[in-house]
Amino acid sequence: MIVSRTTDASVLQDTDLAGPLVFCLALGAFLLLSGKVHFGYIYAIGVMGCLGIYALLSLMAVSAVTLGTMVSVLGYCLLPMVILSGINVVLSLQGLTGFVLTGLAIAWCSLSASKLFVTALFMDHQQPLVAYPCALLYGVFALITIF
């Protein structure tokens, strides 16, 4: 998950849904610790976001996109968001440092997700275009975490 220099397409051959599920549950647990019971929202936003990005990528990419790959990539890249919600338990994120940390977390999530997508789907010159919707999706998670 560390933003590595080189990723190859074979990383996406095995779709693994257990990891993303663990991350979602961890996110919900951390939010619970901060006093917000938002499991339903996480699930709903996760599902809608995955479907939306799946639709967008299948329209934009030349090669075929499978939903399983999508969900596993997006779920794994949720890790920085989980870390952010863990920080939120001890510190409040509504100040300036909170915004900076949130921005960094969103950027980390979306850059790694878009890098994986672009490598696997052979899209040329479209990485920022893929990174932006991922950033929006993780931004929604951040909104729920902060407010």
């Binding site: 939306g52 010159h125 929604v140 909104l143």
Partner: protein
């Protein structure tokens, strides 16, 4: 399989296709001898173990599918069926949501998006607004800066909903329901605007090259301006909001007028059909349509965002 050698030994009731067992022992076959009477029909199950008992009737037993040749044929047929089934479903779906047409609008790359955003904010120095065409349609947005796309409008719409959530959160007015309220309101207004434009084009009987998806694209560009104005309002409150709104309205009107002029008003060297009956028909109507489409944008931009700005509250 302890069967006799494949193909089975000569059987007067065998079908013409080698390797296949005749489906019904009692079927009359004129080329050979008459079938024996029913009660005296021999039991061929002793000759070939997978052969059905004589009085089974016309049924394909499960042992049939164990034979490798039949299994292969069945698999291939099944796969062909699945493939054609998928194709059929795709075709049916294509009638309601034209996926291949929509794919055209998403064929963008980073260069196009940055240039288009620059154009939306500062269209005053762009000189060539014409669209290049291929055999059956306009060139993909990737290669033609003036072509409409659906990536920017979609992203701008989603960003608008999120920025609205952010701004309301900063004013302590945020609940997750607010996100869905904003999203559905904005969507409803956009759909309404496009329906009004379509009805206007239908009633005034103006023939253009504009398709519905083009109209959706042009209607979605205003969200970029709304986002800019709302973001300005975070820093400068009401003054910032109005300055941003006015500037974005002006540039959007300029952009739309220049772009749609190419597509709505007839030009002498238009690459589309050179129909002499269509030229110079309803020029005034076309101009009114153009002004209507462009002029409605500022009002909608204001309507969709004025409830998001915060009054200047003294910091406590």
């Amino acid at each position: 399989m302890s069967a006799p050698a494949y193909p089975p030994p000569y059987n007067p009731y065998a079908s013409a296709v080698p390797g296949n067992m005749p489906p019904n022992m009692n079927m009359y076959d004129g080329r050979y001898v008459l079938p024996p009477p029913y009660t005296a029909s021999p039991d061929y199950s002793r000759i070939h173990p997978s052969f059905p008992p004589a009085d089974q009737g016309f049924s394909i037993p499960s042992q049939f599918l164990n034979e490798p040749l039949v299994a292969n044929v069945a698999m291939q047929y099944g796969q062909a069926l699945v493939g054609s089934g998928k194709q059929l479903v795709g075709q049916e779906l294509e009638k309601y949501v034209p996926f291949s047409r929509i794919k055209y609008y998403f064929a963008v790359d980073t260069r196009y998006v940055t240039k288009k955003l620059g154009l939306l904010f500062f269209p005053f120095t762009h000189s060539d607004w014409s669209l290049r065409y291929e055999q059956d349609g306009p060139v993909q947005p990737r290669y033609e800066i003036n072509a409409p796309d659906l990536y920017i409008p979609t992203m701008a719409y989603v960003t608008y909903v999120l920025v609205a959530g952010l701004v309301l959160g900063m004013q302590d007015r945020f609940t997750p329901e607010v996100l869905s309220i904003q999203a559905s309101t904005a969507l409803a207004w956009t759909v309404f605007e496009i329906i009004v434009e379509l009805i206007t084009m239908y009633i005034t009987n103006i023939q253009t090259n504009l398709k519905t998806l083009d109209l959706i694209a042009y209607g979605g560009y205003k969200y970029v301006g709304i986002i800019f104005a709302v973001l300005l309002s975070i820093l400068f409150h009401k003054t910032g909001y109005f300055i941003g709104l006015i500037y974005c309205s002006m540039s959007l009107i300029f952009f739309l007028v220049r772009t749609l002029k190419v597509q709505i008003l007839p030009i002498g060297t238009s690459p589309s059909h050179h129909d002499p009956y269509m030229h110079n028909s309803g020029n005034k109507r076309r101009m009114y349509l153009l002004l209507f489409v462009a002029g409605i944008q500022p009002f909608l931009m204001w309507w969709l965002s004025f409830h998001l700005i915060s009054p200047p509250v003294p910091k406590s």
